[in-house]
């Protein structure tokens, strides 16, 4: 075996391996790093992901961290995990069951073991299984000694001891600091196990810790720990085998790894660039949406203005005020924040101003499960306001798709002068996948015009003249019923907007019964007109399929993977995924009515299913899971088998 770059430096070695490890070719591996929140598992997982992506695998990741920032060390509540699925084929999910699990303490073992497949590789830091550690994880007997792990390939590694040993000449002296390098030791071992080069991570360590002299011991220690972990695998015969996962056939292009929230931020900024506009983003810190605000706050040179508002309502008000002023106004939050913004969103609907609202959904109701995923805000986005107040709703289907959906949301909001919800979720927000950088010239145009002249010819209400000539009519509508967007500062177009019901065309306050009904219908019809500018719903499956699976949002990967497996087995199943939820694509009804059975997998109690049944009178049935976790592919596969048996 060729040693990886940088792995040849002398390290304390144990007895040399007498027989070379066997190498096994596999096409796909799912591995999870799990440990205490302070063990650096997110970092180890991210590094492993980057290395695998650069190596050429297709990847999907899923972090799982506790809501507590620093739960007591070693407890079950403090366990943090990072899962990576890497493959020589196309992947759509972070993987159902684990082929390999790395656990840094008993608590991590206890909370994660159930996901490891029978016969899977279990790498354990055996130094962390003292009585006290076991007690914190509520083990009464040591699982390493009671035979309960006999169904797995257990690799016991004294990670703590070996890490301390490897870094003792690094300049890091306190055992506490030395122990913080454990994640790199474990990562080095995993790199060996999967024949991954070390150079990406070595470079990362150098970039991160090489800039300040006081950090040099950390650089040295982490470098040594990583290499020591690698060499441990190479020289000690505890690892029976290592695995090769070949490159995936990936479409040529330039790639980066991207999370859903990163993609949302980039999509918004790209849309603002395309429109030649300032992006004003206002948010209030809330999990799992905060990282969008954090990223945009650091993009000022792209014409982005951010404001961390005093509350959720203020954040929405700032975005709407910015839209009134002619900027791209965006606010982002999670479910509880949407509740607070509802009244302001109603104002944007009433005044017909563009607004993009990001809802990174999490488990509800109330505070619910802040760090877990759920798709339970669809009906809130659809109906959660006073009066009849329609808004457009979009949902990204993967982390990378968040870019396209954010861009699309700006396009629709400005074309139709309306609020647009983007329903992402915790799974998409924190999950990542490779993203092919878009060809800038091929992005959809976002053309925005602001009137500079009065738009009344004086015959709006009467062909013989109505006295409005030379005036600006803020609610004079175009072919899609959208209204013009005159912005403050434009001479001669001074006008007033407000939340009180208004006369169509003029915008004057108007309480007449027939006018109100007309306006209610007009606002609905305008949103429905969005269907004219969105693509039709694509269906994937055989022409004679009997069962249709239709989903929305972050369940895309699981639904697609399950259907593709079922189709390979010859099952008569087709699938479709909605990215536009209000309005839905024009052909949605026709698609639904083509199948004998319609199954709607959702991470809620049946919200899309409810909408489809109500709107199209189809006997759709739900496949529902509300556990704060994504679907396993196998769960959907089983449901397909059940329906078609």
């Amino acid at each position: 075996m060729t040693p990886p770059a940088g792995a040849g430096v002398a390290e304390p070695k144990s007895a040399a391996r007498t027989t070379p490890a066997t190498s096994v070719e596999v096409d796909s591996v799912t591995i999870r790093f799990a440990g205490d929140s302070g063990d650096g598992m997110q970092l180890a997982g991210t590094q492993f992901t980057n290395t695998s992506a650069l190596f050429g695998n297709d990847i999907a990741t899923f972090p799982d961290f506790p809501a507590e920032i620093r739960a007591p060390a070693g407890t079950l509540a403090g366990v943090s995990g990072f899962q990576v699925h890497f493959s020589s084929r196309e992947v759509h999910t972070p993987g159902d069951v684990l082929d390999a699990l790395v656990v840094m303490n008993p608590a991590a073992l206890k909370t994660n073991l159930k996901d490891l497949k029978d016969g899977g590789v279990l790498i354990v830091n055996s130094d962390a299984f003292e009585d006290n550690d076991l007690k914190k994880a509520k083990y009464t007997v040591n699982p390493l000694e009671d035979g309960s792990l006999k169904g797995y390939k257990v690799v016991r590694v004294p990670v703590t001891k070996l890490t301390r040993e490897s870094v003792k000449e690094s300049g890091l002296t306190s055992p506490r600091d030395q122990d913080r390098c454990k994640n790199f030791f474990a990562l080095g071992l995993v790199y060996w196990m999967f024949e991954r080069p070390l150079d990406t991570t070595l470079k990362w360590i150098k970039d991160k810790f090489g800039k300040k002299p006081e950090h040099l011991p950390v650089l040295e220690a982490n470098t040594r720990a990583l290499k020591a972990g690698y060499n441990y695998g190479d020289t000690v015969e505890v690892m029976p085998v290592h695995y090769k996962v070949a490159k995936a056939p990936i479409e040529p292009g330039t790639y980066r790894k991207i999370t859903g929230n990163e993609a949302l931020a980039l999509g918004l900024v790209a849309a603002a660039h395309a429109a030649g506009k300032t992006l004003v983003y206002s948010g209030y810190p809330i999990t799992p949406a905060s990282s969008v605000l954090e990223q945009l706050a650091d993009m000022k040179r792209h014409g982005v203005k951010t404001l961390q508002a005093e509350d959720e309502i203020a954040a929405c008000g700032v975005a709407i005020g910015a839209s009134f002023g002619g900027a791209i106004g965006v606010t982002g939050t999670s479910g509880p924040g949407i509740c607070l913004k509802s009244e302001a969103i109603g104002l944007a609907i009433m005044t017909e101003l563009p607004l993009v609202i990001l809802d990174i959904q999490r488990g509800g109701p109330s505070t619910g499960l802040p760090t877990k995923t759920e798709q339970a805000d669809l009906l809130q986005a659809m109906f959660g306001r006073n009066g009849e107040s329609p808004a457009a709703i979009l949902a990204p289907q993967s982390p990378a798709d968040c870019f396209d959906i954010a861009y699309e949301a700006v396009r629709i909001a400005t074309r139709f002068m309306c609020p647009v919800f983007v329903l992402s979720d915790g799974y998409l927000a924190n999950g990542s996948e490779p993203w092919k950088l878009p060809d800038v010239s091929k992005l959809a145009k976002i053309e925005i015009t602001h009137p500079t002249e009065p738009n009344s010819d004086g015959t709006q209400f009467h062909e013989n003249g109505d006295g409005t000539k030379g005036k600006y009519l803020p609610y004079k509508r175009d072919e899609y019923l959208s209204r013009p967007w005159a912005i403050p500062g434009t001479p001669g177009l001074e006008h007033r907007l407000g939340g009180i019901e208004k006369q169509d065309t003029t915008g004057n306050i108007n309480y007449e019964p027939a006018n109100h009904e007309h306006m209610i219908h007009t606002r609905w019809k305008k949103i429905e007109n969005i269907a004219h500018v969105i693509p039709e719903l694509a269906v994937h499956g055989p022409a004679d399929a009997e069962l249709l699976l239709i989903g929305w949002g972050g369940t895309y990967g699981s639904i697609r993977a399950a259907c593709e497996r079922a189709q390979k087995q010859g099952k008569k199943v087709a699938w479709a995924h909605l990215r536009h939820l209000n309005p839905m694509p024009k052909n949605t009804e026709a698609v639904l009515k083509r199948y004998k059975q319609v199954l709607v997998p959702e991470l809620n109690s049946g919200q899309l299913c409810w909408l489809l049944r109500a709107r199209y009178l189809v006997p759709a049935e739900g496949l529902n899971k509300v556990q704060g976790r994504p679907f396993l592919v196998s769960e959907i596969e089983a449901a397909i088998a059940e329906k078609l048996k």
């Binding site: 992506a53 650069l54 050429g56 990406t200 479409e251 040529p252 292009g253 330039t254 790639y255 980066r256 790894k257 991207i258 980039l266 900024v269 790209a270 660039h273 395309a274 300032t278 004003v280 206002s282 993009m299 000022k300 040179r301 792209h302 014409g303 203005k305 404001l307 508002a309 005093e310 309502i313 203020a314 929405c316 008000g317 700032v318 709407i320 005020g321 910015a322 839209s323 009134f324 002023g325 900027a327 009244e343 302001a344 109603g346 104002l347 005044t351 950088l437 800038v440 403050p488 500062g489 434009t490 001479p491 001669g492 001074e494 006008h495 007033r496 907007l497 407000g498 939340g499 306050i509």
Partner: protein, 339 residues
């Protein structure tokens, strides 16, 4: 020398075709009239002005000004005005609110817009009552005020708008009175000239639900003894015969007879540019009958606005890394190419 002609406006230019719907005798009429008068002199074209409001009687104001206007939702006007400011750096933005809108449902936003010093001129019409909802006590209603929801009299300590504003680091703080038209116009002009958040409390009579609550400050026969008009650089003197003054005794202001208790030199001299808001805060807490209530400009200091600091940060970023383009948007630490 070429002089740039300032735009001149008349009150008529600023009048819309909408029927004004306040109750006859409402103090809002006077404020509307003085606003038009004041704005006709500030040299800003009407398309460069915007009025933003929340909900309440006062919040109908934008419909009657022929400028850009946004009648928003209850209490939240500061947030919309802030967003508008971020989008439009050179608009003159006015925010009209009331005691319920600004200090009750919108108290949180008021505090934060002031602390950020966003360039917005806030007018709080204080009538100490909820008028649009037909007469419930408000956060500024005095203890004992009998209303439909306080039949035994209000049991709550009233909020002091100017004390609140000063505590929130407001950079311009003033008080005036609806019917003191000359003073009102002057204060509006000064607020218009201020860079940063200006906060003006206007005593405003509600003819229907709280008539006469400010009579002590508007009745010509008594008001001189009940009001102290602040003048920058001048001693704090008041009273019908201008014989009373305000002196500081330790940390407490006291009313003194000039010429009897002390000389003019012992009186407080008003300095609206004082950085420290402590003295202004003491003045904001003076209420009758023991003290005159203080009108005029309490504080006017120049501090950076949120939007200025934001622009400065953006300029610095651009100077360092160049203006962001679509192409460099997608760059990241780790990029790889598949061929």
């Amino acid at each position: 020398m070429a002089a740039t002609a300032l735009p001149t406006l008349t009150a008529k230019d600023l009048t819309t075709d909408q029927e004004v719907r306040w109750c006859p005798g409402c103090g809002d009429y006077s404020i509307l009239a003085q606003m038009k008068k004041a704005l006709s002199t500030v040299g800003v074209p009407k398309e460069k002005m915007a009025f933003v409001s929340g909900i309440g009687c006062s919040s109908r104001f934008p419909y009657y000004m022929n400028t850009y206007g946004f009648h928003t939702i209850h209490g939240r006007a500061p947030t919309f005005a802030t967003g508008l400011r971020l989008a439009q750096p050179d608009l003159q933005i006015w925010l009209v609110t009331g005691d319920g809108d600004g200090l009750s449902i919108g108290g949180n936003h008021l505090m934060h817009v002031l602390r950020r010093n966003v360039d917005i001129k806030i007018l709080l019409f204080n009538n100490e009552i909820y008028g649009l909802t037909k007469g419930q006590y408000s956060p500024t209603s005095r203890m004992g005020t009998k209303t439909k929801t306080s039949p035994q009299g209000s049991m709550e300590q009233p909020a002091r708008p100017l004390t609140v504003a000063l505590a929130a680091e407001a950079t311009f703080v003033a008080r005036t009175i609806d019917v003191d038209v000359q003073h009102l116009t002057g204060i509006l002009q000064k607020a218009a000239a201020h860079k940063g958040t200006a906060f003006v409390e206007i005593y405003q009579n509600c003819k229907i639900f709280n008539d006469g609550v400010f009579e002590y400050a508007t009745d010509k026969s008594v008001k001189a003894d009940n009001l102290l008009y602040l003048e920058h650089g001048k001693p704090m003197i008041f009273g019908k015969d201008r014989t009373k003054g305000i002196r500081l005794n330790g940390l407490r202001p006291e009313v003194v007879q000039v010429g009897k208790d002390c000389g003019v030199d012992d009186l407080l001299i008003h300095d609206e540019t004082t950085e420290d808001p402590t003295l202004a805060t003491l003045l904001s807490r003076m209420v009758g009958p023991d003290f005159p209530e203080v009108v005029g400009v309490y504080r006017s200091v120049r501090k950076p606005c949120y939007e200025e600091l934001l622009q400065k940060a953006a300029d610095a970023e651009i100077a360092k890394k160049g203006k962001g383009t679509m192409a460099d948007l997608f760059k990241a630490e780790d990029i790889w190419t598949v061929s």
